[in-house]
């Protein structure tokens, strides 16, 4: 199942292998496509770097692109930790953004910021969460596979938005009325004047806090534990009396809500209204972000930064090669990481065993997993019996 991309144990170089492999493959693919256009790959990379990390404005734009990716990446990651693949982040993001925009636009002007901003965020979370909850209920009650349901919902949301837009959008435009001033999130340029002109805003801080919150939720709370158990071993979860359907629905609701919050960056921090087609695949990129981060919330930040750089870099090189090249690259990264981590996960037990054997006999895991059971359950993370910190099992640790 799509549940586990956790590679939390094992030597660092082995865990890093999938990323190196993905980066090499993506760069090779990009070079190949650049050649197709008769452009020099080196010049393309130089332009990409100059347009992103080469200037303060570029950095600001990268951070702006990163913000919603953190949200959708977290959304996909949380669901995947519970063994669910939420492909619907795109639709949930759109619904959440529209909810935030409407909430912000129809609040009385006198409402202070302290109330208006949280209200809009709540609206975004609830709207996205409702879509997620619907998916969860479909899975729970109707046993419909969440991947198909979320994909269908993406299409339905897109079609319905065209219909709803007819009533909500301002005349002769494809956007809603702007939100009231107190619902706007401040630009970071007001604190750091160097960022002037770039759209990066307080939503970035919000997204970072969200990542920390989700990490704490998964690690330190009962719900987070239940969620991980359901994701890693549904049978064991059911045997211990966890209500799987309920927990999966909660996970999908949370996932949808997180994706919905991703709309805040654009609606409350940049344009101040909902605009048709604003999402531009950010929901789908969230899948790439989560897969690259192995569903670890804090790694999602770095992973989002990587794809944020690519997204902004795509605009920078658009004159040379079409920016859709970036979509190809993110797909290549997903494919490379997904297959390489499956291989590495298979290698890990063997490697750990070898290392334990020549390291110190006393700290060998109490129960070795045979090759056979590893093959049958290769979709599950390494078993619990493996010692907590494999890295410490070294000659030095033994002395």
């Amino acid at each position: 199942m799509a549940g586990s991309h956790e590679l939390s144990r094992g030597p660092l170089w082995l865990r890093a292998l999938p990323f190196v492999w993905a980066a090499l493959l993506a760069m090779a693919m990009a070079s190949l496509l650049a050649r197709l256009y008769g452009q020099s790959p080196l010049a393309m990379y130089r332009l990409l770097l100059a347009g992103t990390w080469g200037s303060v404005y570029g950095i600001g734009q990268v951070l702006f692109k990163t913000t919603p990716l953190i949200c959708t990446g977290l959304a996909v990651a949380v669901a995947l930790r519970a063994g669910l693949f939420n492909v619907g982040a795109e639709g949930q993001l759109i619904v959440g953004a529209l909810a935030a925009a409407l909430c912000g636009a129809y609040l009385p002007v006198a409402v202070p910021s302290v109330v208006a901003v949280p209200l809009c965020l709540l609206a975004a979370f609830c709207a996205g969460g409702l879509v997620g909850a619907f998916v969860g209920l479909c899975k729970w009650l109707c046993r419909a596979h969440e991947v198909i349901v979320t994909i269908l919902l993406n299409f339905i949301v897109r079609a319905v938005m065209i219909g709803v837009g007819g009533y909500l959008f301002l005349k002769e435009s494809v956007h809603t009325a702007p939100v009231i001033d107190s619902a706007k999130l401040p630009r970071l340029a007001t604190i750091l004047p160097q960022l002037h002109g770039s759209a990066v805003n307080a939503a970035l801080v919000l997204a970072l806090l969200l990542a920390v919150a989700i990490e704490l939720l998964l690690r330190r709370t009962r719900l987070g534990f239940a969620l991980r158990v359901v994701g890693q071993n549904p049978d064991a979860a059911a045997a211990t009396g966890l209500r799987i359907g309920w927990i999966q629905t909660l996970a999908l609701t949370l996932s949808g809500g997180l994706a919905g919050l991703g709309g805040a960056n654009f609606v409350l921090g940049y344009k101040y209204y909902y605009e048709d087609g604003f999402s531009a695949g950010v929901g789908y990129l969230g899948i790439a972000v989560a897969v690259l981060a192995h569903n670890q919330p804090l790694w999602v930040i770095l992973s989002a930064l990587f794809f944020g750089t690519l997204a902004q870099g795509g605009l920078a090189v658009n004159a040379m090669v079409p920016r859709e090249l970036i979509d190809v690259l993110s797909a290549v990264v997903i494919l490379a990481v997904a297959t390489a981590s499956a291989e590495v996960r298979r290698l890990l037990p063997r490697f750990q065993q070898a290392k334990t054997d020549d390291g110190n006999k006393d700290v060998r895991p109490p129960k070795q997993t045979s090759r056979e059971s590893d093959d049958a359950h290769s979709h599950e993370p390494p078993p619990m019996q493996v010692p907590e910190t494999v890295d410490s099992v070294s000659p030095w640790a033994a002395r």
């Binding site: 991947v147 269908l152 079609a159 190809v328 997903i334 997904a338």
Partner: protein, 290 residues
């Protein structure tokens, strides 16, 4: 309703159903071997792209290019999930993203636009008719292959009990790879048909048909005949909407567009409520094992 209009409607249903039916068949053959195939949508799209890229050199080459593109994509998918045992759902979705990105990039190289190709005049003729015939014979052929041949027995064994199949010296790996390749070929016919019908390539022109076909396949209980029937049902929904609109009934466009998706969602929910979804699925679906 006069009989002429009814015949027109039936004809429209048949024409619209081709990509749905072919992708549903492709999904069936792949999943009966135990490999989940969310990549159907990507294969449809890539096959359509291949057809469009080959079209300036004549209809025959367009057909070959389209089929080859679909099979190559399927083989890539097979390599990733069967040989390297990557996660089937994650890789399937990534193949779709790859198809979307690649189609826009190559469209720009070939035709100078990232959204659509110009009209492909080389594709006039009776191509769609032939493909229609191929489609409905494939349904019968695949039914025979899966249920009444040694190959089909091996295919189902590999999908249900790979360990047992292996014990009888059936190579799980090669059966699955052949199934994925055949799935690519079948689905590619649907993609080729799309371009032959519309005589143009438009970005994202598969429009979720691969995903809908997957739902049709599940609705049909992983059986080719029933999967094709479900695909026909979806095509009927799409065709009736267009038909009613053409006859002057004012249905807003967005409702018309969402009808196939909503209908698919409802059928999936209904089937789940009736409670037979899981018993029908191949036992080892989605479990990589060599």
């Amino acid at each position: 309703m006069d009989s002429l209009a009814l015949v027109g409607l039936l004809w429209a249903i048949l024409r619209i159903s081709v990509p749905y039916v072919m992708a549903a068949l492709g999904g069936t053959v792949c999943e009966r071997a135990g490999v989940i195939n969310i990549a159907l949508e990507g294969i449809l799209l890539i096959a359509a792209l291949g057809t469009a890229l080959g079209a300036p050199h004549g209809a025959a080459l367009a057909l070959v290019c389209g089929l080859a593109a679909g099979v190559i994509t399927a083989l890539l998918y097979g390599l990733l999930v069967v040989v390297f045992r990557g996660d089937q759902i994650v890789c399937g979705v990534a193949i779709f993203m790859l198809a979307d990105g690649l189609s826009r990039v190559l469209l720009k190289v070939q035709f100078g636009s990232t959204s659509n190709s110009p009209r492909l005049d080389a594709l006039v003729g009776s191509g769609p008719l032939w493909l229609l015939a191929v489609t409905f014979s494939s349904v019968i052929l695949l039914h025979g292959l899966i249920y009444h041949s040694v190959l089909g027995l091996r295919l189902r064994a590999v999908g249900d009990k790979p360990a047992a199949a292996q014990a009888l010296s059936v190579s799980v790996l090669s059966v699955r790879m052949w199934a994925v390749a055949l799935s690519g070929l079948l689905t590619a016919i649907g993609g080729v048909y799309l371009v032959f019908e519309q005589r143009q390539f438009v970005a994202l022109m598969s429009g979720g048909r691969g995903f809908l076909a997957l739902a049709a396949m599940i609705f049909g209980g992983w059986r080719p005949l029933w999967g094709a029937a479900a695909a026909l049902l979806f095509a009927t929904a799409e065709a009736s909407g267009i038909f009613l609109q053409a006859r002057g009934l004012l249905i807003p466009n967005w409702i018309l567009q969402s009808v196939p998706y909503v209908l698919t969602l409802l059928t999936l929910m209904l089937r789940g409520l009736l409670g037979k979804t899981h018993s029908a699925a191949p036992l080892s679906l989605g479990i990589p094992r060599l």
